[in-house]
């Protein structure tokens, strides 16, 4: 793997001052299909189509990681507020192609950084001039942007105000852009785009504001939308029977899709997580299972047609999104080879389903405390209390928010479990690492009025959370061959940034500024460094001039400091920031 990179470096040397020759070739569909074995690069959001966030690089390993130190840092922009937000933050995963890094800030500026020679040189910044007031007023959970996608000579990115933007990789000029989401309908975009074949795929946020969610594919040549799959079926479509009310609750049924999905070329299938139903905490407003909220969707990538779905929390009353990456892993389970789809849900359970048909394989709680259900049915994977005949599910009725039980503590709390921060899967160890929010919080139900028009660009949540108790975190390891927990490394703060794994290490960041590396087998801490800014983004790794680096964006964004800070009192007053940290050995 290191050899490949050396060849690339040598070629670069020969070409000398003409890096454009490289860039003009661009990232091909074949490169994206083989991104997992392209050791020195990180070409797509979750590193590969299987969303494993596993890098084979091992120059930095468990024997020498203690010597890791800051190689360089870079200050970025996008810290300003807008709408209801007082500042932006960084949740992105940097991409790297042949030593050139692409990162975004919270308002969607894209930066191209030359990392060669052991230092950072910003080659260009594309500022999409995001409409702060229009978008920031209806962004449920912060001013965030999770990064770019690469295709040919284009850098694809989203803006919070609903655009898909294609930027020329060499010049930083916008080549074309199109409006995909409509902030007038409270639709905004925070997720990174995913390029598959000649398409770029977009997910949407807004289920706290009564959107009807979707996933959309744009053709890179025609720049036109080729399909749009709604996550809430229209009347007459399969699944519409799971909206049993007579007030058309489905029209504002939620189902956001703001975490980038995964893709299996073997079956031509796209896997994507779907968020909560709206209103979040008033499940009586929308009797029925509320498909496809809180589900994993498997789609035909060419047509957007739904192949199968797996719903985790039918008729959700907790805000237990399944907006999560689906990790594709091939591993034997109890001796049987399986094509798995792994998902760590906000509801506190980790799931493996057969990704060829959506059949449940195993599930287990990955948090220390679950109170809303006694557990999963071992056959179906549904919560044991789930009764398909009930219009409104009660689960553990003494915990579940409802009109009769309007103020209630739920565990996990509504942030999860696990939120958007990505898991990482180590195919060598067959271990899957989950960045956990070990939490409970209190929900107060304020029922919405059925039949009353939903306020335009107004919250539509049926209540809200508050934080009477401390929230902590962990990195929890699961052996996918058994579906059993094999380790838990507890952390003082919740995991708000996500994970990276290499052959023998796991990297993470914490909202108090700490970045750390754990032994992938024992989860023992081997190294740490405090960046001095809240870490709210996943680490990644790459090589430049043949040398391995670990990069992470630093700058607390999201909703934590606005709505969850009481659960982590030490983080009060932590100033926002916007910077990039890059580490290396010596």
């Amino acid at each position: 793997m290191v050899k490949n990179t050396c060849v690339a470096a040598a070629v670069a040397l020969i070409l000398g001052s003409a890096p454009a020759v490289f860039a003009a070739d661009g990232v091909t569909p074949e490169q994206l299909l083989n991104a997992d074995s392209d050791a020195g690069n990180w070409l797509t959001h979750h590193r590969d189509y299987a969303a494993q966030r596993f890098s084979p690089l091992n120059q930095i390993n468990k024997d020498n990681v203690k010597n890791l130190h800051v190689a360089w840092t870079l200050q970025l922009g996008g810290i300003e507020g807008g709408g209801i937000w007082s500042h932006g933050g960084l949740e992105g995963t940097p991409l790297v192609e042949n030593g050139f890094m692409y990162v975004t800030d919270g308002w969607g500026s894209v930066y191209k950084i030359d990392t060669k020679g052991g230092q950072a040189k910003v080659l260009w910044r594309m500022d999409p001039k995001t409409d702060h007031d229009w978008a920031g007023a209806v962004a449920c959970c912060g001013v965030d942007n999770r990064g770019v996608a690469l295709s040919g000579n284009l850098v694809l990115s989203h803006s919070l105000d609903g655009r898909l933007i294609a930027t020329n990789k060499d010049t930083g000029q916008i080549a074309w852009q199109r409006q995909v989401a409509d902030p007038d309908k409270s639709e905004v975009i925070t997720g990174a785009p995913l390029v598959v074949k000649n398409m770029v795929i977009t997910g949407v946020a807004g289920a706290e504001y009564g959107i009807r969610g979707w996933i959309a594919a744009t053709d890179l040549t025609s720049q036109k939308e080729v399909w749009r799959t709604y996550t809430i079926p229209a009347k007459g479509e399969p699944g519409s029977e799971t909206w049993k009310d007579s007030n058309n609750a489905a029209a504002t049924g939620g189902g956001s899709t703001w975490v980038t999905g995964s893709y299996d070329p073997r079956t031509n299938t796209l896997f994507w997580g779907v968020g909560n139903p709206g209103p979040d905490w008033d499940s009586e407003y929308r009797p029925g299972d509320n498909l496809y909220t809180d589900s994993t969707l498997a789609l035909d990538v060419d047509s957007g047609k739904i192949k199968w779905h797996f719903q985790h929390t039918p008729n959700d009353a907790f805000d237990y999104d399944s907006v999560a990456e689906n990790v594709l892993a091939d591993a034997p389970v109890h001796g049987q080879p399986r094509h798995l789809d792994l998902e760590a849900d906000r509801n506190g359970f980790a799931y493996a389903v057969d990704r060829d048909n959506g059949q449940f394989v195993w599930g287990l709680p990955f948090v220390k405390k679950v109170t809303w259900t006694k557990g999963l049915d071992p056959e179906t994977g549904k919560p044991v209390e789930y009764d398909p005949k009930l219009p409104v599910q009660k689960y553990n009725a003494s915990v579940t928010p409802s009109k009769e039980n309007p103020v209630t503590m739920i565990c996990p709390g509504n942030m999860g479990g696990k939120n958007w921060p990505p898991t990482a899967y180590n195919p060598v160890l067959k271990q899957w690492y989950i960045p956990v929010i070990e939490s409970c919080n209190r929900i107060t139900v304020k029922p919405e009025t059925p039949g009353k028009p939903v306020g335009k660009r107004e919250f539509f949540t049926g209540g809200g959370p508050d934080q009477p108790v401390r929230i902590t975190g962990s990195v929890t390891a699961i052996d996918v061959t058994t579906g059993k927990e094999v380790g838990k490394h507890e952390t003082p703060f919740p995991m708000l940034g996500g994970l990276l794994t290499t052959p023998d290490l796991v990297f993470y960041g914490q909202p108090d500024g700490k970045v750390a590396a754990l032994d992938a087998k024992t989860l023992q801490e081997l190294w740490s460094f405090n960046t001095g800014g809240g870490v709210n983004a996943p680490p990644m790794t790459f090589t430049s001039d043949g040398k391995q680096y670990v990069a992470i964006l630093v700058g607390q964004g999201g909703a934590w400091d606005k709505w969850f800070i009481e659960s982590t009192p030490e983080l009060k007053g932590m100033p926002p920031g916007s910077s990039l940290y890059v580490f290396s050995l010596n």
Partner: protein
């Protein structure tokens, strides 16, 4: 669209200054109050309209419907509300009994109002209290004019009021602005629903 990197730090600096609550002596009090209303992030809880509302962050009061006098509003901003989500913008509010005769030591931890993220000087508190009385209190439903005087015309945030007020002539005033970006008028052209039964595809 392309921007050299050295401007970035200036933009960050400007954003930080905007949040720092430094008063400009020459501005008139409505401008000053509006500036504080934005900079102290009253918008974050009460929205630009002041109408507040429930949802995620708990219910911030509807300032359009407030019955409070100027003095009471000033007091509420300075001292916050005991046991409620309204923060105190005087950083020393609970040090010496100046607020409701209470010191932090006399209040159970859960009852002390939250500290404001953007503490204000007395002149700023006065300005924003006046702004609430003059521009928000008793104003009824928000209008396009009010939206434009809050945001200027460079944002699409007021479009929804334009549609209400003028029956569909959106962007009317934005058109006059030469600041309009190329993307200002872009509309979503969605593909038809992939899962619709074949003939009657949903629009």
């Amino acid at each position: 669209m392309m921007k050299r990197f050295r401007y970035v730090s200036a933009a960050v600096f400007a954003a930080m200054m905007a949040g720092s609550g430094i008063a400009r002596a020459d501005a008139n009090s409505t401008d000053e109050g509006l500036r504080v209303f934005k900079a102290a992030n009253c918008v974050g809880c009460h929205k630009w309209t002041g109408a507040g509302g429930g949802g995620y962050g708990g219910a911030a009061a509807n300032l359009r419907k407030t019955k409070l006098t100027l003095e009471q509003i000033e007091l509420t901003i300075r001292c916050g509300r005991i046991s409620k989500g309204m923060p105190h913008f005087d950083p020393d509010a609970y040090t010496d009994g100046r607020c409701y005769g209470m010191k932090a030591s006399q209040l159970e931890p859960g009852r002390i109002p939250p500290e404001a993220d953007h503490p204000l000087r007395q002149a700023d508190i006065d300005a924003v209290a006046k702004y609430v009385v003059a521009n928000i209190k008793g104003q009824g439903e928000a209008t396009l004019d009010q939206c434009h005087s809050f945001f200027g015309a460079g944002s699409r945030v007021c479009d929804m009021y334009a549609k209400q007020d003028e029956g569909g002539t959106q962007h009317a005033s934005a058109e006059q602005q030469e600041t309009a970006e190329t993307h200002h008028h872009m509309k979503v052209e969605a593909a038809t629903d992939s899962n619709a039964p074949h003939q009657d595809a949903e629009k």
